[in-house]
């Protein structure tokens, strides 16, 4: 068999799952399994126990609560992607999910699993940073909220404790007068992107840029907010030259070294292009919503 030996537990409540985690030195939480099971098959992950969350009713589903989208830990990518109410509340989510692997993977993989896995090249953590979401982590000591900006420490490394379990993620609905765009470049459809960029542009009633939130995946050891590009845009009237300048400014956030996929210089070029394109698209959408 491909995976290593492990104990398998299928708790039916969050409390049971947390108690199970506490009993083992190392345990892995199994939601959709689209990252965990390949890691087990390759034996690069050796948890003493695999804790399957599928039987925990309270972790299922996605819903709009006021101005927040609440995504349960077992909500599959595809379920969130196809939900019309979620699409209306924040269309950036469907646009971004369309780039996450393939439909067959999205049928199983979960949004919260992707957020907690923390792959620096994954799309959803970048969306999570741009939208300013948060996760609820439950541990033996109780529950805490972790803001998106506080979650990512390094590739596949988050500020979650080994005994915690993310029960849900919250993503704000799209604010008024805001346009959105996610675009990426991958060598093959469905592969992890060499770089991907998420843009949210909020206009004042006058049409000037009230605020911009930009993030990227695939360019550093974590997903990153492109703060330097945001600063270029805020308060301007978003002329073409300003948008181009934001693209150039964003390159400073590329810290990934040359690797077996591409060079750092090419990633900088990609980010510059993607930032310019996503801002332009988001701006057109924001203007249409004025």
């Amino acid at each position: 068999m491909k995976p290593p030996l492990f104990d398998y537990l299928a708790p039916v409540s969050v409390e049971e799952a947390i108690a199970a985690r506490a009993r083992y030195q190392s345990s892995a939480l199994l939601a959709g399994g689209q990252s965990l099971i390949p890691a087990l098959n390759f034996r690069i992950s050796h948890p003493e126990a695999v804790i399957d969350l599928k039987g925990i009713e309270s972790l299922r589903g996605v819903e709009l609560q006021g101005s927040e989208i609440v995504i349960g830990a077992m909500a599959r990518h595809r379920e969130v992607e196809l939900d019309e109410a979620i699409f209306k509340a924040n269309p950036l989510i469907r646009e971004t999910l369309g780039h996450v692997a393939h439909i067959v993977i999205r049928n199983r993989g979960t949004v919260v699993g992707s957020l907690a896995h923390g792959d620096a090249a994954a799309e959803m953590p970048a969306l999570f940073l741009a939208t300013g979401g948060s996760v609820t982590a439950r541990g033996p000591g109780g529950s805490r909220e972790i803001a998106a900006g506080e979650l990512y420490r390094f590739h596949l490394t988050t500020s979650l404790e080994p005994d915690e379990l993310v029960t849900e993620a919250r993503i704000p609905a799209l604010p008024a007068r805001t346009g959105w765009s996610f675009q990426e470049f991958a060598r093959r459809r469905g592969d992890y992107a060499l770089a991907g960029v998420c843009a949210l542009i909020t206009l004042e009633a006058s049409g000037a840029c009230q605020g911009a939130r930009l993030s990227a995946c695939g360019i550093a050891s974590t997903p990153v907010r492109l703060v330097k590009a945001e600063e270029v845009l805020t308060g301007t009237s978003l002329e073409t030259e300003t948008v181009n300048e934001a693209g150039r400014a964003a390159c400073a956030h590329v810290t990934a070294p040359d690797d077996n996929q591409t060079t750092s210089a090419f990633r900088k070029q990609l980010v510059q292009t993607l930032v310019t394109r996503t801002i332009t698209r988001a701006l057109a959408r924001a203007r249409a919503r004025l």
């Binding site: 290593p4 390949p38 067959v104 596949l156």
Partner: protein
């Protein structure tokens, strides 16, 4: 995933030499099945080794090739990226259940045959299950060139160059009346 990535298993873990056995109950192609399995048995291996359903092919065992695609509760999924125990209580459908009992091909299979959508055939069960799931999920599947290629993007074929598979999907949609009202 928060296991000890890239670390050797602890002494305690490696001392465990035998797998626990868990009772698994599920429905496969309409039959209710009960088996005791190891929790680390992949669904793909369960189908092939335990049930003898060797129509589900195993290519890469890491979620890349799509050959092992089956339907879990009506949705296409990679059976190499699921533990058999995850399917406890689930309804599984494999390629063996696609043609009618009398051997009449499903329209998707018929279309693959008519359009030469396969050569060696190793990847074909995965393609068929993916397309079947997509057709059952989408009331109006996107049958543009891009839409079909998006639908097929999770499956690798090393023979056909995909052209004939795209044609087969379009033909299957026609046979199943999924391609909208007749034009003209």
């Amino acid at each position: 995933m928060t296991g000890r990535s890239a670390e050797a298993p602890s002494a305690e873990a490696s001392e465990r030499s035998s797998d626990p056995r868990l009772l698994l109950r599920l429905t496969v192609n309409g039959a209710e099945i009960e088996r005791e399995v190891s929790p680390r048995l992949l669904l793909s291996d369960f189908l092939r080794h335990e049930l003898g359903l060797t129509g589900t092919h195993v290519g890469c065992e890491q979620g890349v090739c799509g050959c092992c695609t089956v339907m879990i509760d009506g949705r296409a999924a990679r059976s190499c990226l699921a533990l058999a125990v995850q399917a406890d209580g689930a309804t599984i459908r494999t390629i063996e259940d696609v043609a009618s009992a009398d051997g009449t091909l499903h329209p998707i299979q018929q279309a693959f045959q008519e359009c030469h959508g396969l050569q060696c055939g190793f990847c074909t069960p995965g393609f068929i299950m993916g397309v079947l799931s997509h057709f059952e999920e989408a009331r109006m599947p996107d049958l543009s060139e891009d839409g079909i290629r998006e639908m097929l993007s999770g499956n690798l074929c090393r023979c056909t160059g995909y052209q004939h598979i795209v044609a087969a999907v379009r033909r299957a949609a026609r046979l199943m009346n999924l391609d909208g009202p007749e034009k003209g």
